[in-house]
Assembly symmetry: C2
Homo-oligomer: 314 residues x 2
């Protein structure tokens, strides 16, 4: 059996702000926050809550659901750009805090909103190459710690979260072929310069989502010999409502119920937005045979897409 | 043909300090610097020279040697813990500075001295999974920018460098099975806390190299059905002369000519020390049939080992 996703769990911090808070703080109309940005709530890590703490909380939920696997984890990859320390890597702290044995591969992946899709391919491949049974891909960011609270471009959008994806040999979701892309020329579109806060060039990101990403989605469908009509769910990175609508229009699925939106409940959780969205699909463990197009895009600029296929249970 | 190493090139900055400089700056005996630490020269990136610049310089050397591959690179992974920016990832800047097409996967790997061995497995696996022909693993660190110039534990040891390893389907070095390990309990042994410089607990690192790493080397030999006597070269992370001697003693190869040392010429270049050392082996492209044990260990704590096998050319 090919390696794929066996389970997903996520963690959200206790602290949050509502669309009402955001609207009043920034002098926005509440409709603008809830409809154009698309957010009703963003989550904010506690003052002493670090990326590794959120990663550990998400993994603990996995272990609660699957107590059999705790001793069998052979690799933990943490995808983050807000690590606890510049060094060591956050995945080593996760290994420590979970009390796991030393016989485990831990490494960090440095990517933003495309990180879940990239990471899925990286961890799957690493496990197959090294003949491992169980691994965990964690996506975890604490953007609240790098955001200027007065920045109306970023504060009402980004949300802290972690997702833990169990990867193993009895998957309910198996990735087909992947596409990957990079445009470093636009590296300044989303950036943290030394001792500065996160800067986002909303227009630059918008143009990217309106032009490059639709082409990538077409390419992903092509290499997997599938058409738009074959897809049961479109799970795009939950960038913002406006971005999701633009992207949906561009590929001809505007207003389509197949386009998943859960941004309102969670905010833009960076690399965790796709696994969290996947977890909201309720019929996914039903009859099987579903095709889910996932696509992550953002900081870098970077993008990656694949199709997840559920098994038809016969 | 299995995916492996086709070529290695490295880059060292122009600025350097000699053992004489280090001895006088820290009040050390020059013998201590040259024999116990084992360093005659450390390299220091220019004031405006960033990790991506050094990575690009190393890759350009690869492209000079192999002009055929520039347009064929499908993945660039940069292993670093001193990225240009907290975000975006340094590999996106490398893609931009090299003027490569957008149809390329770029991601960063967050690991220190074990990063080359981990990265080799990650990139090899990623390429096999995604059926890619050519990829580059870059290891690049500018520790000089996080080191307190007055710290006698770290300043006389660490050196800035980048190495670019071309990975492809006509390798001269093919990795056999890998071992990986992590001990996050000792995460404070080598750490950069917020707005502080690099801290190194020399004794903690020493104990790790004297106990955990020898066991890992034994395990690596075992899973590859090889014995110490079968190994033609031992290419350990060039931590310090003292560490290399300790490790060699522990596995019974003290003073053996098969234990490679090039620390004196380059300093401890973190994740680049193994690829740079590999590049110093001159008979490697000769008759083939060599077995090279490589092992990276350090910050995390983290370690990884494998055996590189050269093809017997018949």
């Amino acid at each position: 059996m090919s390696v794929g996703i066996e389970a997903i769990e996520y963690y959200l911090p206790e602290r949050f702000m509502t669309s009402g808070d955001l609207a009043s703080n920034f002098g926005f109309d509440i409709q603008f926050v809830e409809e154009k940005i698309g957010v009703r709530r963003i989550y904010i890590a506690g003052e002493n809550e670090k990326t590794s703490d959120m990663a550990v909380a998400a993994i603990k939920k996995l272990f609660e659901k699957r107590p059999d696997i705790k001793e069998k984890i052979e690799v933990i990859a943490v995808c983050t750009q807000t690590p606890d320390y510049q060094l060591p890597h956050t995945s080593a702290l996760v290994q420590k805090k979970l009390g796991l044995g030393m016989d485990i591969a831990c490494f960090d992946i440095g990517l933003g909103c495309s990180g879940f899709v990239y990471g899925l391919s990286v961890v799957k491949a690493f496990m197959e190459e090294n003949k491992m049974e169980y691994g965990i891909l964690v996506t975890a960011e604490t953007y609240s710690k790098i955001i200027d609270e007065k920045d109306k471009n970023t504060k009402p959008l980004f949300s802290d979260a972690a997702a833990a994806t169990l990867i193993g040999r009895e998957p309910y979701l198996t990735p087909l072929k992947f596409t990957f892309g990079t445009n470093g020329n636009s590296y300044e579109s989303l950036i943290v310069r030394s001792s500065e806060s996160l800067f986002m060039d909303g227009r630059g990101i918008f143009e990217f989502v309106a032009t490059v990403v639709p082409d990538d989605l077409k390419r992903c469908l092509e290499i997997n010999s599938l058409k738009i009509g074959d897809i049961d769910y479109f799970v795009f990175h939950q960038a913002s409502n406006f971005m999701l609508d633009t992207l949906s229009k561009k590929i001809g699925v505007a207003g389509d119920h197949r386009v998943l939106k859960c941004l309102d409940r969670f905010g833009n959780t960076v690399s965790s937005s796709i696994p969290i969205a996947l977890d909201t699909i309720k019929d996914i463990s039903g009859d099987g045979g579903l095709k889910i197009l996932i696509s992550g895009f953002g900081v870098g600029l970077s993008w990656a897409s694949t199709i997840l296929s559920t098994l038809r249970r016969t």
